[in-house]
């Protein structure tokens, strides 16, 4: 049994412009200790998914259907107080902007310690001691003295570390990190990610890492879910995704990453913007931006299928939601995946058998893949 099982999750927001489906039919699995990435542009439904896992979607939103099972228990049918026992204790969240996630009028130490006192029934002194140790663990110098500092006395990087310490405070089984490093500069980002990675191993915590940054995913994750306009469009291990992306949107995201040695002087982008979720395009919601779109794409909504067989895929199997794999398109997805400026073989989805994990690519050549060569499904 996976640690977290999400099945057919649909979340609607009731706004003045109409009903917005922020997440639709989303299914995924996270195993114990696994590092699972969720990637997509802003508005793809990543954060809503995260909040749903804690049952914290705002008042205008509603979890319409689906199941979220954590350690086999259905979070959605639990009582409010039972869910509160899970929050912060078994599933903890790291927020994107540490500065706004910390309450300005209480000390950093108190904000960490109160969680410990609440969930673990620690006394004041014991909670303080544990907090100081956590602050030390996340790399805050002089944690004993810093305990009594207010958030505004911390730098941005230290605030983010404090928020990570807060999330780790009760030794959770699942850590949801919502863009944990987006607000930070790159050098601090690398340090924080590295620390997060190490702590997750140390505390034996699974991570759901939400980001729009594929580079961050490559650094940390084992498996990835790509979301677009509230739906999963591709699910794969990190290696498969990077060397052999199957969905045109993933391919677009990849080519939008600037690489050293690129000869283009303009940044590649995916044309257009993500659709307004009030009026999602018919059929495949990516079709207006997709270079391979055909008439069929405007009519039929693609399901997540195994790209090799075209069969409906299970919630933890490699899959992509594109009509190209169900034989509904006349043409082929014709793109090239380029790794380190070298042609890594064209992936024409229908004609060639998919390569299991990036096949002929010289993996040693890519430092990202090098550090993450562990989990394939």
């Amino acid at each position: 049994m996976a640690l977290l099982e999400v099945d057919d999750l649909t979340v609607n927001y009731y706004t003045e412009e109409g009903v917005v489906t922020a997440v639709e039919d989303l299914s995924f699995r996270i195993d114990r200790g696994e590092k699972f990435g969720v990637v997509g542009e802003s508005g793809a439904g990543k954060s809503v998914t995260a909040l749903s896992l804690l049952r914290l979607v705002e008042r205008s939103g509603r979890i319409e259907s689906g199941e979220i099972r954590f350690k086999g228990e259905d979070l959605l049918s639990m009582s409010e107080s039972a869910v509160r026992d899970v929050r912060g204790n078994e599933i903890a969240m790291i927020f994107q902007d540490a500065q706004t996630a910390l309450n300005p009028v209480y000390t950093v130490g108190e904000q960490i310690a109160e969680t410990i006192r609440h969930h673990l029934d620690y006394g004041d002194a014991a909670a303080r001691e544990r907090t100081v140790r956590l602050l030390d663990d996340v790399g805050i110098p002089e944690p004993e003295a810093r305990y009594d500092d207010y958030p505004h006395e911390f730098s941005g990087g230290m605030q983010q570390r404090a928020v990570i310490a807060m999330a780790l405070s009760c030794d959770p089984d699942l850590l949801i990190a919502d863009e944990p490093t987006t607000a930070l500069d790159v050098t601090i980002e690398a340090k924080i990610l590295d620390r997060l990675d190490r702590l997750a191993a140390e505390y034996d915590t699974a991570i759901q890492l939400i980001t729009h940054d594929l580079g961050v995913i490559a650094e940390v994750c084992d498996r990835v879910l790509v979301m677009y306009a509230g739906r999963a469009v591709e699910r794969a291990s990190v290696e498969e995704l990077y060397y052999d992306p199957k969905h045109p949107y993933t391919v677009g995201l990849m080519s939008a990453i600037p690489r050293i040695g690129d000869r283009q002087d303009r940044l590649q982008t995916i044309p257009g913007t993500m659709p307004d979720l009030v009026e999602v395009p018919s059929g495949c919601s990516f079709h207006p931006r997709c270079p391979f779109a055909e008439e069929a794409c405007t009519r039929t909504r693609p399901q997540l299928v195994d790209p090799a067989t075209g069969e409906r895929a299970g919630p933890d199997e490699r899959s992509a939601a594109c009509l190209a794999y169900t034989g509904d398109l006349d043409g082929e997805l014709d793109y090239e995946v380029e790794v380190r400026g070298r042609d890594a073989g064209a992936a024409t989805a229908e004609s060639e058998p998919p390569e299991p994990d990036g096949g002929g690519v010289d993996r040693g050549a890519d430092p990202d893949a090098d550090s993450e060569g562990k989990a394939d499904e």
Binding site: N89, A92, D97, A101, L102, N103, H118, V163
Partner: protein, 317 residues
């Protein structure tokens, strides 16, 4: 140390304000026709013109206005607030005798305002756009709209006359006796209602704004009970703007006391103030006005200190 300096600077900066208030009030009183001697003469027609002039001279009312002001000011600086002419009593003791009554009424009204405003404000913010929130809005609107004198009279009518729960007139007992404290409730409610309406709206909007902030979601994500989230995390942040309004309301409460003390025949400064105006008692009007000014300034100073206690980001150095 730095806080002490801040307080010292603030207190010092009130001196020009108080000076301005004193000049303005003095001028206003003298722009109004008549003085206490006129009233004395009107009541005692047998007083001759020579006697009248002598009395005026005795109270220093015969010189030009600027001279009178200078005399008043120099006496003030020597700690002499002047005389209440009608009863021939020094102003200082006259005020001190009535001050506790007004302070008691003011604090009571203020406490009632806070006691009504903060819980209802929290309730309305947490249950935004529900029936309870709408009802609180109706209450706030009526609280702001109802004049104090009318509300006071209605409370007397209903609770003192019809239900016979309260005495109609203030009993003649020491201030800190159960009978007097019981009597304080109706005037206290009258003063508190108007202030509580304003305070409650501020409490509600400030809390509703805070509730949308991310630290609230973060606190919930920690698994804290909603009670702790609201009463610990959100409340303290919301109280910052409430403090500002609560300080402003000191002025409103004193103004309310003037009317309410009349309506409830409460022997405090507010009633003395009305009588002083009717009797053109310059010294008494000046003293009460300055006293009120000092109180309001001190209340705002207190608010500045409370900010620093509530919000660690505010430091006065």
């Amino acid at each position: 140390m730095s806080l002490r300096r801040f307080v010292a600077i603030r207190v010092a900066s009130t001196i020009p304000i108080l000076f301005g208030v004193s000049v303005f009030t003095f001028a206003l009183v003298h722009l109004t026709p008549g003085d206490p001697i006129d009233q004395l003469v009107a009541l005692n027609p047998q007083i001759s013109a020579a006697e009248e002039a002598a009395i005026r001279a005795r109270y220093g009312l015969d010189g030009p206005v600027w001279q009178q002001y200078l005399t008043w000011m120099s006496n003030l600086l020597r700690g002499d607030f002047g005389t209440v002419i009608a009863v021939d009593q020094p102003v200082g003791p006259y005020i001190m005798a009535r001050l506790p009554e007004t302070v008691a009424l003011g604090l009571f009204g203020w406490a009632i305002a806070l006691l009504i405003a903060i819980p209802t404000g929290i309730y309305a913010a947490v249950n935004k756009d529900t029936l309870g929130d709408d009802l609180s809005r109706v209450f706030a609107l009526s609280g702001i709209s109802l004049p104090n004198f009318w509300l006071g009279l209605m409370l007397i009518l209903v609770f003192a006359l019809w239900l016979d729960l309260w005495p109609v007139l203030a009993p003649d007992k020491p201030l800190l006796s159960p009978a007097m404290l019981w009597y304080l409730i109706l005037p206290g409610v009258t003063i508190g209602t108007a202030s509580s309406a304003t305070l409650m709206r501020v409490m509600r909007s400030s809390m509703a704004e805070e509730l949308n902030k991310e630290y609230v979601t973060a606190a919930r994500a920690k698994g804290l009970p909603e009670r702790t989230v609201v009463l610990k995390h959100v409340l303290r942040n919301s109280l910052i703007s409430v403090t500002t309004i609560a300080a402003f309301l000191t002025a409103g409460i004193f103004a309310g006391a003037v009317v309410v003390e009349q309506v409830f025949a409460w022997p405090g400064l507010g009633r003395a103030f009305v009588q002083a105006i009717i009797g053109r008692e310059v010294d008494l009007i000046m003293a009460i006005t300055l006293f009120t000014g000092v109180t309001i300034i001190l209340a705002n100073l207190l608010a500045d200190i409370v900010y620093a206690v509530l919000d660690p980001r505010i430091r006065y150095d």
